[in-house]
């Protein structure tokens, strides 16, 4: 902490804000350290973007854990006198009250304050550079609407690992909360995808970079073309499933072929969407495997050693799971051998294709249906994983496996909406959901493979593609079992059901 930073904090009565921030951070959806206990929160860096009315500070807070580790978070602060309407801010944004020059002032997350958000936009519209106590900020934007007459900035209520804002009908801002070290993964990915010719993503309009000494630029705000009239793939899939289950409930038992026919003849079918999604996914992977990419995003051949390492790691993760003493794992222990066979099959793949950077967190919630077709979003990988791990290169089939598993989850989630396992109709409806998932997995996969075409640079040849895909699907399901046991035990049957039905 430098004197300059202390000066800024002192001026606004924030020298003692650590404890309030600690409580605030622990409550936030975007805070990724919930499983660790926080020792303290300190201010790492600060810049005064606006001195008064509103006071708007760019703040990087460092969260120190009891285990000795720490993480940096991007928490812009707004401060207004207690008499100002912002004093009545939604409590989830309120951080504390402070005494500033003898008057009481409220401190809150600045993104809740339209005036502060407008200042962020002003920086991007004007391509402003600012010095912070420790580093600098560089904002950029091209083709943005003028500030004059800007309507209200919209703060999206759904809290994720980031915070989303939009201005007008055209501009969407993703405010990154966790400031990692190393290059900005999403920036790397968007850049690589653009170079590779991928068009099914939101157009980049600008952003704000945080420039630290000894670190590559970190993008803390992504400004993109707003995707108008978009729906999540998840919502689209559920629309289809609700129709299907309602029909199944009105029928007295269906044979397997009748269940397949019910999916094929369904009005709100999802399969054409799944097929188009398969094509878009293939295009994403063709872009990421473009031989012109270099450095950390270059595609590299998968070696026999890679395959062996993957198989070993997958088996180790499985064994770690099976070591848990949870009774729900009994049946899984019984089929360990069969599961491991799917991993070991990797070792015999002759021509495994290339390893590329991948989306890394690919599921129906990461794709949006728009009037221009499917758009893929959020290229930062799985937020819970360390940055270095998210930047690893894998077979693109790892993404494919993620999406295929997502079809299973959608079928299960729509089933859980309407009934529970103690309902006598549960098994019948589950079977109908399985038929839906299978049809959509097939539609997705066939369109994916067809779009990839004969390009051997991406996929393993011939039947090997299925072997690799299957290994990643199984790996993903094993991970899901572990995750669900820890977070949502009532969901653990979804991956278990998949693993227990695996055929050699």
């Amino acid at each position: 902490m430098t004197v300059a930073a202390d000066d800024v904090l002192a001026r606004h009565g924030l020298l003692e804000i650590g404890d309030a921030l600690r409580e605030h951070v622990a409550r936030q959806r975007w805070f990724g350290g919930k499983e660790r206990s926080i020792a303290a929160v300190s201010i790492e860096d600060v810049a005064e973007i606006s001195a008064h009315d509103p006071t708007f500070l760019f703040v990087v807070a460092r969260v120190h854990y009891e285990d000795g580790g720490s993480d940096c978070y991007n928490i812009p602060l707004g401060i207004r006198d207690a008499g100002h309407p912002m004093a009545g801010v939604d409590p989830k944004f309120l951080i504390t009250t402070v005494n500033r020059d003898g008057t009481t002032a409220v401190v809150y997350d600045a993104l809740a304050d339209n005036d502060c958000s407008l200042l962020l936009w002003a920086d991007m519209v004007g391509n402003v550079e600012r010095t912070t106590a420790q580093a600098s900020l560089r904002a950029e934007g091209t083709g943005l609407a003028p500030l004059e007459g800007s309507g209200a900035i919209r703060l999206f209520p759904a809290e994720q690992s980031n915070t989303a804002l939009s201005r007008g009908n055209d501009e969407f801002l993703k405010w990154v909360r966790h400031i990692d070290s190393g290059p900005s993964i999403e920036l790397e990915m968007i850049d690589a995808l653009r170079q590779g010719g991928f068009i099914h993503m939101a157009e980049t309009l600008g952003g704000i970079d945080y420039l630290r000494r000894d670190e590559p630029p970190t993008r803390i705000a992504f400004l993109q073309r707003y995707l108008h009239n978009a729906s999540e793939g998840w919502a689209m899939a559920l629309t289809s499933l609700r129709d299907l289950y309602t029909g199944a409930e009105e029928d007295d038992g269906r044979s397997p072929s009748e269940r397949r026919a019910a999916v094929a003849e369904q009005g709100p079918a999802f399969t054409p969407e799944a097929a188009r999604l398969g094509e878009v996914t293939a295009e994403m992977h063709l872009a990421l495997s473009w031989p012109g990419l270099s450095g950390d995003v270059a595609p590299v051949p998968i070696t026999d050693a890679d395959l062996g390492d993957w198989a070993t790691a997958m088996t180790q993760d499985l064994d770690k799971l099976l070591e848990l003493s949870n009774p729900r794992l009994e049946k899984l222990r019984a089929v360990r051998g069969q599961i491991v066979e799917h991993f070991d099959a990797l070792r015999h793949v002759a021509d495994p294709g290339v390893a590329t950077r991948i989306h890394g967190d690919y599921h129906l919630g990461q794709v949006l249906r728009t009037d221009l077709g499917w758009i893929v979003i959020d290229f930062e990988g799985e937020p819970a994983r360390p940055s270095a791990e998210r930047r690893l290169r894998w077979s693109p089939l790892r993404d494919v496996a993620g999406m295929l598993r997502s079809f299973d989850y959608a079928a299960a989630a729509a089933l859980a909406e309407r009934t529970s396992p103690d309902d006598p109709a549960w098994e019948e409806l589950s079977a109908q959901g399985d038929a839906w998932a299978q049809a959509n997995r097939d539609a997705f996969w066939q369109a994916y493979v067809a779009r990839i075409g004969n390009s051997s640079r991406v996929l393993p040849r011939g039947d090997s593609a299925m072997v690799v895909r299957r290994a990643f699907e199984v790996q993903k399901a094993v991970y899901e079992v572990l995750y669900e046991l820890g977070h949502r035990p009532e969901w653990v049957n979804i991956p278990l059901r998949f693993l227990l039905r695996l055929r050699p």
Partner: protein, 562 residues
């Protein structure tokens, strides 16, 4: 020459509102099918005249008459043998004049089908033309010694025609035809053909017609090395027709073109500011996509195509329809669209069943009352001029066993009396049997019965047609798709000055919630437009609505004084 333009007197239209077609509700009517005044089993103009009161009551602004000119009827009247004569079973030119006068007296307008591309081979021009190479009418048509010309041109009626050239023994030459081989194409390189066609236009405008629906316009000219569609010469001729109409008759007459193409290509038929062509064009792809959206229970099939529809000049309008006398067509749209539709339909036996055959609205919607209402709501509130097909206002069915053309052309069902009140003829004498099945038959579905019941489909139609006409915003307002959190809900804003209308449609068979971003109208109140029910005021939070299955709402967004 036997055919010349008879004497006519000029007739003025009801008023001089030049943009009437943007706010009007059109009604497509088949004279043959509507009402038979003389008991010969075939509908006629006098019968139609008798039903004008009904059409006025319903709220129709403009009748579109399917072809009624003298014709051998080998293509539903699209094979005209005399442009100045009326099919005798329909009546006389004087009957048409009387229809137009009586329609005008009620504030209604009338447009007629006009086939410019070709005539029947029974037309006097063709008879003359084929008689000898020196005949002055020879050059009215397109002749060739060989078939090796215009080789890049597709055959439209691929099921019945093997070539666009047909040998004519009498002429000793091949003649060119884009449609059936009994429909020779006129030769628009001949200036006399231009004059003939403009005289025909003048004749019917003099009689009082308010405009024309131009059949098959993209094909007027042929040029080697092209696909002979949408050629610049064709556009130039359409501009000439428009200029003639505007200069000689002033504004207020309308040209509605049938160019069954992709919207971004169809816009060319509106012409340019310097050389305007048609006032209206049909928007073809939106119709099958509405059925698709309902089936998929999501809005994207519709919003995609609207996204791809270019803006059109302010004084122009799209003609939109739910059903007409043609099939739910996949033909004559682009390959890309056909691929999309086939990809969607390929595994869907229910939808495949409905392709390529002609069905009416009610059977296509499983006779679902809520679906019919939802579709009518969409038709009346989407940007464009709604064109209804006779009988759909009472939910008439079809008879697919009558075959291709006739299944959707059965007699209008007026009453539950003999022959549905359509005709006093013997049943066997009817041009087509009236529908008699228990669901759609005339005893269950007829105008008389539905007029008696306020809750009938017919009263619903009338109520919403009336509402649409009260609000110019539906015809002239801007259109913006609204962000809706639920893919089954299709919401949009229509705005014209302070007429701010919000339309919300649930495409799902289940009740659905939806959150709309309405903050730009914070503080204002949505007032439901039929019952004037005041909904909660709009605030800063997303505006929540709950939608009944296949339900729809129209709201006027108002600043309420409290």
């Amino acid at each position: 020459m036997t055919q010349t333009a008879p004497e006519t007197r000029t007739f003025t239209t009801p008023d001089k509102d030049p943009l009437w077609y943007k706010r009007a509700v059109f009604y497509e009517v088949l004279v043959r099918a509507f009402a038979d005044s003389n008991g010969d089993g075939v509908g006629d103009f006098r019968g139609l005249i008798d039903k004008l009161d009904y059409l006025e009551w319903l709220g129709v602004d403009c009748l579109w008459l399917l072809p009624f000119n003298q014709s051998p009827l080998r293509d539903g009247g699209y094979d005209i043998a005399d442009y100045y004569a009326v099919l005798p079973e329909y009546g006389t030119v004087d009957d048409v004049r009387e229809l137009v006068e009586k329609a005008h007296a009620r504030g209604m307008r009338v447009v007629m089908d006009l086939v410019m591309n070709h005539t029947s081979d029974q037309h006097e021009w063709f008879k003359q033309a084929r008689s000898s190479k020196d005949n002055p009418y020879r050059d009215y048509y397109m002749w060739s010694e060989t078939q090796d010309k215009y080789n890049d041109v597709r055959i439209i009626f691929i099921d019945t025609e093997v070539s666009n050239w047909t040998w004519d023994d009498a002429a000793g030459a091949y003649f060119w035809h884009r449609f059936f081989s009994h429909q020779p194409d006129l030769n628009y390189d001949n200036p006399r053909v231009h004059e003939e066609m403009l005289d025909i236009v003048r004749f019917w405008l003099d009689l009082g017609m308010d405009g024309f629906r131009l059949d098959a316009v993209p094909y007027l000219y042929a040029r080697d090395g092209t696909n002979c569609e949408n050629l610049p010469e064709t556009h130039a001729f359409l501009a000439k027709v428009r200029r003639t109409m505007d200069e000689e008759y002033g504004p207020g007459r309308v040209l509605l073109s049938e160019a069954n193409q992709w919207p971004e290509d169809v816009v060319d038929y509106y012409g340019t500011p310097e050389a305007p062509e048609c006032h209206m064009n049909f928007h073809f792809p939106i119709m099958p996509r509405m059925f698709m959206a309902l089936r998929r229970e999501q809005r994207y099939p519709i919003t995609e195509i609207l996204e791809r529809t270019p803006p059109i000049p302010d004084n122009c309008a799209w003609g939109i329809f739910l059903r007409n006398h043609d099939e739910l067509t996949l033909e004559m749209v682009t390959d890309e669209e056909r691929d999309y539709m086939y990809q969607e339909y390929a595994h869907d036996p229910r939808m495949k069943l409905n392709l390529g055959i002609r069905r009416r609205l009610a059977p296509l919607l499983d006779n679902g009352r809520h679906k019919m209402e939802l579709f009518t709501g969409l038709l009346l509130s989407l940007p464009g001029t709604p064109i209804m097909y006779y009988g759909d206002e009472i939910g008439m069915g079809d008879n697919i066993y009558l075959g291709d053309r006739d299944g959707v052309r059965t007699p209008m069902q007026w009453t539950m009396d003999r022959n549905a009140g359509f005709s006093q003829a013997d049943f066997a004498q009817l041009y087509l049997p009236v529908l008699m099945d228990p669901v759609y038959g005339y005893q269950a579905v007829n105008v008389e019965g539905q007029r008696r019941h306020e809750s009938s489909l017919l009263h619903f139609m009338r109520r919403f047609i009336t509402l649409r006409k009260k609000w110019p915003v539906f015809g002239e307002g801007s259109f913006e798709i609204l962000e809706a959190s639920n893919p089954s809900v299709f919401a949009y804003l229509r705005v014209l000055g302070d007429q701010i209308v919000l339309c919300v449609n649930n495409l799902s068979r289940f009740p659905q919630p939806v959150e709309l971003d309405m903050r730009r109208y914070a503080g204002m109140t949505p007032v439901e437009m039929v019952g004037k029910v005041h909904f909660p005021a709009i605030g800063e939070l997303p505006y929540l609505l709950t939608m009944a299955p296949h339900g729809f709402y129209w709201f006027h967004i108002q600043e309420l004084r409290t």
